[in-house]
């Protein structure tokens, strides 16, 4: 595009960094703020959409693609207060959407932890929320999508109209087109949440508590990752508190976790730092009992985690997340514990969640227990080796990884983890025949 023609088309070069700080690149960014600017790039220009830019991995940029910064497309288009249906543009943040909905007595039950995640990102990653066993993944909420595809313009798709494209777009990592808006089915929120704390001694006990609490609004575990305390922790079971005096709608924009968190110059999560933090959390959280929590706090727990993420320093972190089927989970947990005892990696935290869905595409879903491990300094050889060992163990036990979280995944691991890798990849590629849509994530995992 000639300079004179590009004025106002908002093209620039920016250095973008993934949230986990494992990939950075100087890329071309276009920032459309009007619909006609979606057609501004040459049709054959490789591209990928970007919303809040808070994916752990580099899902919204790559060396060869122009990033479409969709944050100006953040408008609410239609809201049916009676039926609980919202049509919203893809650049709107999930936090902003919840802020609008909660005073109207509705909410999006499937919300990722970061309030700046965009609706388009939630669709493209088919994210899960605070209890996927109860609420499913984001797919469960999506009634209709609109996509922009170069040369074809704006396409409306749903389960009846171009169902294959609709299906591939959810969890399709932005490879089927630029999502411009989504129509979502909403749910009535609980009046308030009473959080029950159930201490557990190991991951097997955690799995039992999770399975027994499948219908809770909030359900996840925190676990110590140190070798001598591996798996100890607490399951947090958020129950609807209908006795609460009023619905909690305090969800201030000012408390939203920033999209980019400046790393501390000196990382906190060395062995001593992890020991201090885990001991403190154990004393604070790992006692049986109830506590009321704000719904906002339940929806976006990462808002309290600014120091936690800054503490990873410039080296950043990696999140390994694997969903292991129920019949194999206990064996996997034992094997993982043995591996931790042997290799003594630094694990800042482990979280656990229950899933009860259907595995589709490359999104994280299925029936089992998902463990997420946060590791500092993932490029250190010992840490890297442990990540590889976790992948081996998880695959041995039938696990599925979460590509939108884990920057250590490559095509070889994906092929081993997904028996239907080629078929799933081909289904996506059918909607991206000339390879116009792609990111560092999709390149790395062989899509």
């Amino acid at each position: 595009m000639a300079p004179a023609e590009s004025r106002g088309f908002a093209l620039a070069r920016e250095r973008l960094t993934s949230f986990d700080r494992q990939f950075a690149a100087d890329v071309r960014v276009q920032r459309p703020d009007r619909y006609r600017l979606l057609d501004a790039l040459p049709a054959d220009q490789p591209r990928i959409a970007r919303g809040g830019g808070v994916s752990y991995v580099a899902a919204s940029f790559g060396n060869d693609a122009t990033t479409l910064d969709m944050r100006a497309f953040d408008r609410l288009l239609a809201f049916d207060d009676r039926a609980g249906v919202l049509c919203v543009e893809a650049g709107a943040s999930i936090g902003d959407v919840q802020r609008f909905l909660l005073p109207h007595g509705w909410y999006v039950p499937v919300a990722p932890g970061h309030p700046r995640a965009s609706i388009g990102g939630c669709v493209a990653s088919d994210v899960h929320g605070k209890n996927p066993a109860r609420d499913g993944t984001f797919r469960a909420l999506v009634e209709e999508l609109q996509l922009h595809v170069p040369g074809r313009g704006l396409l409306g798709v749903d389960a009846r109209n171009d169902a294959a494209l609709f299906d591939a777009t959810i969890g399709g990592f932005g490879m089927t087109g630029t999502i411009t808006h989504a129509t979502l089915r909403l749910v009535r929120p609980p009046r308030a949440i009473a959080l029950r704390r159930v201490p557990v001694d190991d991951l097997a006990q955690a799995a039992r508590v999770l399975r027994e609490s499948a219908n809770a609004h909030v359900l996840y575990g925190w676990h110590d990752g140190r070798p001598d305390r591996f798996g100890r922790g607490v399951i947090r079971v958020g129950l609807s508190d209908d006795e609460a005096a009023s619905r909690d709608v305090a969800l201030s924009k000012n408390t939203d976790l920033p999209a980019a968190i400046a790393p501390l110059p000196v990382p906190l999560w060395n062995r001593n730092g992890i020991a201090v933090a885990n001991s403190w959390l154990s004393r604070r959280w790992c006692k049986p009992g109830f506590e009321p929590i704000a719904l906002a706090q339940a929806l976006f727990p990462l808002n309290d985690a600014r120091l936690y993420f800054a503490g990873y320093g410039k080296a950043g972190l990696v999140e390994l997340q694997w969903l292991v089927p129920h019949p194999r989970f206990e064996a996997f947990a034992v094997a993982l514990g043995d591996c931790v005892a042997r290799e003594r990696p630094r694990i800042a935290l482990i979280s656990s969640k229950l899933f009860d869905g259907v595995a589709r595409g490359f999104a994280l879903d299925g029936k089992g227990i998902a463990l997420a491990l946060h590791l500092p300094s993932p490029t250190q050889s010992s840490q890297r080796a442990f990540c590889e060992r976790v992948a081996e163990l998880a695959i041995e036990h039938g696990g599925r990884p979460n590509p939108i979280k884990d920057s250590t995944l490559d095509e070889a691991v994906m092929r081993r983890a997904f028996a239907d890798f080629d078929a799933t990849r081909d289904a996506l590629a059918a909607h991206n025949r000339d390879g116009r849509f792609g990111s560092e994530l999709t390149r790395r995992i062989g899509l």
Binding site: P3, A4, S6, R7, G8, F9, A10, L11, A12, R13, V29, R31, D33, R34, Y35, R36, L37, A72, F73, R75, L76, L77, A78, F79, E89, F100
Partner: protein, 249 residues
């Protein structure tokens, strides 16, 4: 339409940048709005959003100011069912990188249509109504018009001409009969400046919109936003010719 507001503000160039920020701020303050821009898709999206968030009345009018012979008449016709008009904000504007004496006549005409003809035509059409309501006309100048240079030739000419329009409006109306406000804008963080190397930080449109919206109906004036540009303008004007000729960009 969802609610009843007491007065209407017309925003021309409402689909992006400062115009969109003005629409949001004025809706938050309870104004009914008539939004004017070139693409109906953008207008519908903004209108739906503002109606849902602020429960105010928002009407839209898609106009191509580069080709519309009488934009004022179209806007006037769209105001028929709206609450009384209290403010006209002319935020539309277009500049080009090749506006350096290399433009063909058709492009010169487009720039003048959007940046000069449309503001004149719209002001002329809405002036009787605004006189009745003692309303506010907000014009937007530019630091590009401080002193003519070899770039932004047509754009700066049009913006300088808006200064004359501002003076004419003030001269023709007694104080209090009509509020006329001219904002000479510095760099704004919009699509027009995105990716450009600017000599100083650009202002956020939301902050500028808040400043402007808070002053509607509060007298007539011409001022720089941000204020520091008044000093820069004074320096540029005071430069001796031999020094000014050597200025780049």
């Amino acid at each position: 339409m969802t609610a009843t507001a007491s007065t209407t503000a017309v925003i021309v160039g409402a689909s992006s940048g400062l115009g969109r920020a003005l629409a949001t701020d004025l809706a938050r303050r309870g104004h009914a709005l008539l939004l004017v821009a070139s693409d109906a898709r953008d207008l519908q999206a903004i209108a739906a959003d503002l109606e849902l968030r602020f429960d105010t009345d928002v009407a839209t009018l898609a106009l191509d100011l580069a080709r519309e012979p009488d934009p004022g008449a179209r806007i006037l016709a769209s105001l028929v069912s709206m609450p009384p008009l209290s403010a006209l904000l002319l935020a539309a504007g277009v500049s080009r990188d090749d506006d350096d004496f290399s433009l063909p006549a058709a492009r010169i005409g487009e720039l003048l249509s959007i940046n000069l003809h449309a503001p004149h035509a719209i002001v002329h059409a809405l002036l009787p109504t605004l006189r009745e309501t003692r309303g506010t006309i907000v014009l937007f100048g530019s630091i590009a018009a401080i002193r003519g240079r070899g770039r932004n030739v047509v754009y700066a000419s049009a913006k300088r001409a808006l200064e004359s329009l501002y003076e004419s409006l003030r001269q023709a109306h007694a104080a209090g009969a009509l509020h006329v406000q001219l904002y000479r804008l510095g760099f704004l963080a919009t699509n027009l400046t995105y990716g450009m190397k600017l000599p100083m930080a650009a202002s956020e449109p939301d902050a500028v919109a808040r400043h402007i919206a808070a002053r509607l109906g509060k007298g007539s004036f011409a001022r720089y936003v941000p204020r520091r540009f008044a000093l820069i303008a004074a320096i540029v004007r005071a430069l001796p010719w031999f020094a000014f000729r050597r200025m780049r960009g």
